[in-house]
Structure formats: C-alpha cells, structure tokens
C-alpha cells in the first residue's frame, strides 16, 4: 500500500505555476522528488521552474518543463512523452490546472460555459487518459487530480462549475475501481475554498484554507495512495453533512 516509502519520485505536475499546484510542487521539490512541470506561457514556466530549483537547492536546469495547454488536447501526448523521457520514467502525475468562472458570467456567455466545461471536464479527462496509459504501461503509479467539493452536490452558486467537477470526480472514482488491481492509484483531491489566485476577489468563507495546508495533505495522500482527500481538513466533515442534506433543505439554503 505504502508506495511512498521508496524514496524520491519522478513527478509530472500540470498546473505547478500557480495556486495549490505551486505549493504542492514546492513541497515535493524541497524533499527531493524529481519534477517536470507542464503548463502554458514560457515565461511563467521558466520562472516557476527557477523558483522550484532554488527552493530545492538543486542546480539550474535540473527541473524540466514542457508546454501543455488544457485547451489544446493535441499537446498532451507530446508533453507527457517529453516529461517521461527527461525524468527517465514516471511515478506520479498531478493535475491541478483548471478554470473557474462565476455562475452569472457563465449563464450570460455560452462560449465561456463551453470553454469551462471543456477545460474542467472533457480535456482534463483526455489528459488523464493519456497519463493513465503511460502509467499502466510502466506497471502502475499514482494519478492525482484536483477536483472540487463543488462537485459533491448540485448547488446554486456553482451550478456549471460544480457539474463539470462532479463529472470529473465520478470519472476518477471509476478509474480507481477499474485499474486498482493493475497498480494504478487514483487520488481525487476535493479542495474546499482555498485562498489562491483563482479565488482572489471572492469573499473567503469560514474555513478558507491556505495552499500550503492543502499541499501538505495532498503529498501525504499521494504517498499513501489515499483515494479521496478533502482539503483543508475541515471540509471533510462539512461535506459529510452537505452530502446528506435532504433536497428540500438544499433548495432553501444559498450555500
């Protein structure tokens, strides 16, 4: 079970340039894991890689990066191929990249809705399929994907974003069942409100978390192969209640 005890891992992170992905990548780099970073914007990638290298105290050039855009599925295979080659193998694939938009903006702009559903569901699934194939070909590994507590129940303020995340959560659950025996560990992360650039400008609710707390929890989940993790920790019990709320209550509350 505990596959994390076997020393440094070879890790690919899609979304390490910002938010929770940045915090997680820093933590992994600092303990000696070998990273390859995927994302968009060459400058952003180069800056994030420099940050990781200095924090980890490794020489410049030891962390690689490749362009990979969740809006362009044709970039997935090439980016993962390059990562695998540079790392000399692959133990963990992490996906933290996603898109968020307010419900009102989505309702007034079908193009924006299509983009969000495509990025957060369809293309994330396509990326996971590509990553999964590569991990299975090596006899297994860990696929860690950031979904959201917004996918746990249908809720007014995040109807569309939540629907995409619900789909993603169910897909990941199915992958866990389907491939567990083949050695694939699927870790589904369900963050509650976390103070990152994505949620900047939204009013933080009580229990809003910091990316560093999420990163600590997620790293442990990756090491242990925990299939489902709420982060920060307070969201576990909160969602336990929310999941059980009867429909007539959900209708009333604005949560």
């Amino acid at each position: 079970m505990d596959q994390g005890a076997r020393g440094p891992k070879r890790v690919v992170v899609l979304g390490a340039t910002s938010g929770m992905g940045r915090a997680l990548a820093r933590r992994m780099a600092a303990r000696g894991d070998r990273l390859h970073v995927l994302g968009i914007g060459d400058d952003e990638l180069a800056r994030s890689v420099a940050d990781l290298e200095i924090r980890a105290g490794v020489r410049s050039g030891s962390i690689g990066w490749s362009r990979c855009d969740l809006e362009k599925p044709e970039t997935f295979a090439g980016a993962l191929e390059e990562a695998e080659r540079k790392l000399g193998g692959l133990d963990v694939v992490v996906v933290t990249a996603a898109m968020f938009a307010a419900q009102a903006d989505l309702e007034s702009d079908p193009k924006l809705t299509q983009r969000l559903l495509t990025i957060d569901f369809t293309n994330t699934v396509l990326f996971c399929e590509e990553a999964k194939r590569r991990l299975l070909a090596r006899g297994g590994g860990t696929l860690c994907v950031f979904s959201s507590v917004a996918g746990e129940r249908g809720r007014k303020p995040v109807a569309l974003y939540g629907a995409a995340k619900a789909g993603l959560t169910r897909y990941l659950e199915a992958m866990d069942h389907k491939h567990h025996a083949e050695g694939l560990r699927v870790v589904t992360v369900k963050p509650g409100f976390v103070k990152t650039g994505m949620t900047a400008g939204l009013k933080p609710p009580p229990f809003a978390g910091e990316p560093e707390d999420v990163a600590a929890r997620v790293m442990r989940a990756i090491d242990r192969g925990t299939p489902e993790v709420y982060a920060p920790v307070a969201w576990g019990p909160i969602m336990g209640v929310i999941r059980r709320l009867p429909r007539f209550v959900m209708r009333r509350v604005g949560f």
Partner: protein, 446 residues
C-alpha cells in the same frame, strides 16, 4: 491557471488596526494586476495608512501571491525574487544554507517589496545601513504603464526615490538584493539591565562598537531618577565553534485569539507588563546563545499581537533624534510622553548610522525611539506635541509607522521632500500612484 479579480468589499487595515473600506486585488501575475492600480501592498505590517488606498479609489494590489524566487548565485549571494515573497519564507529557505538578509526589520511578516518601500533598518543600522544599501536592481511598473529595471546605473533617480519611497514611485515587481553569509543560524547575545535613559544612550554607543546588532527595550512608566530603565540587547551570529551543531528548531508560536477590551490597556496592565519584563532580567548581565527568532523577531512569537490594543487600535510613533540634539534629547522626548499621561506598552531604542541612498529613507545618525501608543481621544494632541519636539531638535519620523502626523509638521521636518516630489512628478505627472498616507501628508489628490 486562470486568475479572476472579482468584487467583494471588505476592510483593509494597517497593523495598528485602523482601516478603510476597500478591496485588495490579488494575483500570481503582478505585471497584469498592477496595470491600472494606484498602489501595491504586501503583508500589511506598516502601522498606519501607508499601505491603504486613497478613499476615492478604494482598491489596492496585494502582492503576496507573487512569491517566486527567480535567481540565486551561490558564489556572490545575489538573489532575485518577486516582490511578494515574505521574509519568513526567505529565512526558512536560506538560513539553513548559511545565508541571511543583510538587513532585517523586527518582524518576518514583511515582503521584499515592502522592505524596499520602507527601506527597513534593523538593530545593526550603524554597521550595515538600510535594506536599500544592499538592493542592486528593482523591476518596476511605473505610472505610464511601462515595466522597467532601475538601479544605480539605470534610471538612478527612480531607483533612489523608490528605496524608502513608500510605494509612491510605482509598483515594485521584482527585487534583486545581495544576501549575507552567516557562520551559523545561532545568535551570541549579551543583555543587561539598564537603570535609566542616560545610561542607555551611553551603553548603546558602547555596545555598538563591539557588536553589530544592538537595541534596547525601555519601561516607560518609571519616572524621575529611574526613567527609561530597561534592557539592552546586543549580539551577532555565533561562530561554528561556539554554536550548537544542530540547526535551531522552529519555536512554538501562540496566537492572541481576540481583541482585548480597550480598558485592559490602562496604566496598570502596562505597568505590570513592563515591571515583569524588567525583573525577568534578574541578573544584571547575561550572555548566551539564543535562537535567531528570539533575537530578531521576539514579537513574531505572538500572532496578532496587535489585538492586545483592543478595537480602537494603536499607533506607533517612531522618530530619530540626531546626535546634534545632544544626549539628553531622548530623555526630553520621553518626558513629553509621560507628562501627558501617555502609556506605551513597548518602547524600543536604537542607534542609527549614516543616511542611506533612499531619498526619503528614515534613518539619520542619532538615536531612534519607537513607541506603541494605544489610540485614545487625545492621541492627535500627543503626536503633535512629540512632532513639535522632534522638529525643534532636527529629527524626523518614520512614515511606515505614522498615522497621525500633520502635513505641516511633515513638510517642516523633511527638507528632502521637494527633491522626492520632483522625481515623482517626472515619472508620474498625473499623480496616479498614491496612498491614503500620501493624500494626508504629501497633499496628493484624494
């Protein structure tokens, strides 16, 4: 991956607890988020209104998500990072590797950008000057929208006005600074009980000849003969042969969980606090190895210590009295405070060395005195009286701490202001970049 700057009106406060309604724009991408902003702020540790937006704008960039290290040279110690990187993060990363910032303020909860904007000084000002002395380059977004580098070679006027310029010359995006090699992360400290303010002044000078970092804490409730008794601390990084072999463990922190009612900050509680602190130092002199956090950042151990001052908040009054004012000047300043019944939980006294390169930087050769003052109905009059004294003696105040100074006092004690304003006008003729403090003190448009 995608950043949003939505709405959500709330309060923005300085560390003194006095705030304004407004909102903070946050993004990992400082270049984008500063495009139309009038001011940037970091962790909000400046005490007064220097990191608050003008009332008509109500919006300020918060830089703390932009915290990436971009370059570090192991040979020279030259380090470059985004402006929102905190000193806490910097210390956690670099102290174990034998590097330290060349100049540190009394808290780790500051950002690199804030350290430049305030041109922070430390216990070792007489040896190493201000932070700005060690800054080699700054990447800035200036008022006309351009992003550019400034240094002593390139746009020197902008560079020197930005160091200690309270964020009023543009948004600081990246900071390049030369870090300092240290033998170990432990501090060899000597401390002694001091009986009055005059002895303090003498001992500060004496200690500063022997050790780089010196400062004193003063109990302000004793009057007459004992006025200004307290504790003097001096130290330096310990060499490897005297320090413990292991790296210092993180110290436990406690949190001030809620605001104390204002009436607790009365004369009696302040007296009890100060007396306890004074007598904690039972032996007249102590020597020993201490943790770097204990030495440099004693108040960081109590999170939200500003809540101690209750809902009305507090202000800090920090001034520097030049050597020309004579050795009795600190005593006379403290007499003004105590004669007006002013209580101060915390009074810190330090030596200042020569002026730095920042055009509006605070320190000048002399003695710096910092006082925490709980806000009361007569706070304005008290600050006025202190300012009139400082003005007469040729001193000046620290803008990072200020909330109550009147513009006419500020102008009178700042002969350097016209020069600063001239450079500002060149880079920002429409006075776009401004703060609540610059509206109050510099006469910027509201």
């Amino acid at each position: 991956m995608r950043n949003g700057n939505g709405s959500g009106v709330s309060m923005i406060e300085g560390w003194g607890g006095i705030g304004v309604p407004g909102r903070e724009l946050r993004s990992e991408n400082l270049e984008r988020v500063t495009e139309r902003a009038v001011l940037s702020r970091g962790l909000g540790r400046s005490y007064g209104d220097s990191s608050l937006p003008p009332a008509s704008v109500g919006e300020v960039v918060n830089t703390t998500l932009a915290d990436r290290l971009l370059a570090f040279d192991e040979e020279t110690g030259l380090m470059r990072a985004e402006a929102g990187l905190s000193l806490l993060a910097l210390n956690r990363i670099f102290l174990p590797r034998g590097w330290f910032v060349p100049v540190t303020p009394g808290t780790q909860f500051v950002t690199l950008g804030g350290m430049v904007a305030s041109d922070v000084h430390g216990k070792e000002h007489h040896v190493r000057g201000c932070f700005g002395e060690h800054v080699t380059r700054l990447k800035m977004r200036v008022a006309d929208g351009r992003v550019l580098w400034c240094s002593d070679e390139q746009h020197q006027d902008l560079f020197r006005a930005t160091i200690g310029g309270m964020g009023l010359t543009g948004h600081i995006l990246e900071v390049e600074v030369r870090m300092m090699r240290i033998p170990t992360a432990w501090i060899l400290q000597e401390s002694r009980r001091v009986d009055d303010i005059d002895e303090f002044i003498a001992r500060l000078k004496d200690a500063s000849h022997r050790l780089p970092a010196t400062m004193g804490w003063i109990d302000l409730l004793t009057r007459g003969k004992n006025m200004g008794r307290g504790t003097l601390m001096a130290g330096d990084f310990a060499s490897a042969d005297v320090a413990p072999k292991r790296f210092p463990k993180p110290l436990p922190r406690v949190t001030m969980p809620f605001e104390l009612p204002s009436w607790t900050v009365d004369r009696w509680s302040v007296r009890a606090f100060n007396t306890a602190y004074y007598w904690k130092h039972l032996p007249r002199e102590m020597h020993g190895i201490v943790h770097w956090e204990t030495f440099f950042y004693p108040l960081d151990m109590i999170r939200h210590w500003n809540r101690m001052y209750g809902a009305r908040g507090f202000t800090q009054y920090q001034c520097v009295l030049p050597d020309s004012a004579g050795p009795s000047a600190p005593r006379r300043l403290l007499e003004i405070l105590t004669s007006r019944g002013g209580a101060s939980m915390l009074c810190v006294i330090k030596n200042c060395g020569p002026e730095g390169k920042g055009i509006l930087s605070f320190p000048m050769p002399g003695t710096s005195i910092a006082l925490d003052i709980p806000v009361r109905d007569d706070t304005q009059q008290l600050v006025d009286a202190l300012n009139e004294f400082v003005l007469r003696e040729g001193g000046r105040i620290y803008l990072t701490k200020d909330q109550f100074t009147r513009p006419e006092h500020f102008r009178a004690m700042e002969p350097r202001l016209p020069k600063f304003q001239e450079i500002r006008a060149k880079w920002d003729p429409e006075q776009r970049i401004r703060s609540a403090q610059s509206v109050r003190l510099f006469g910027d448009k509201p």
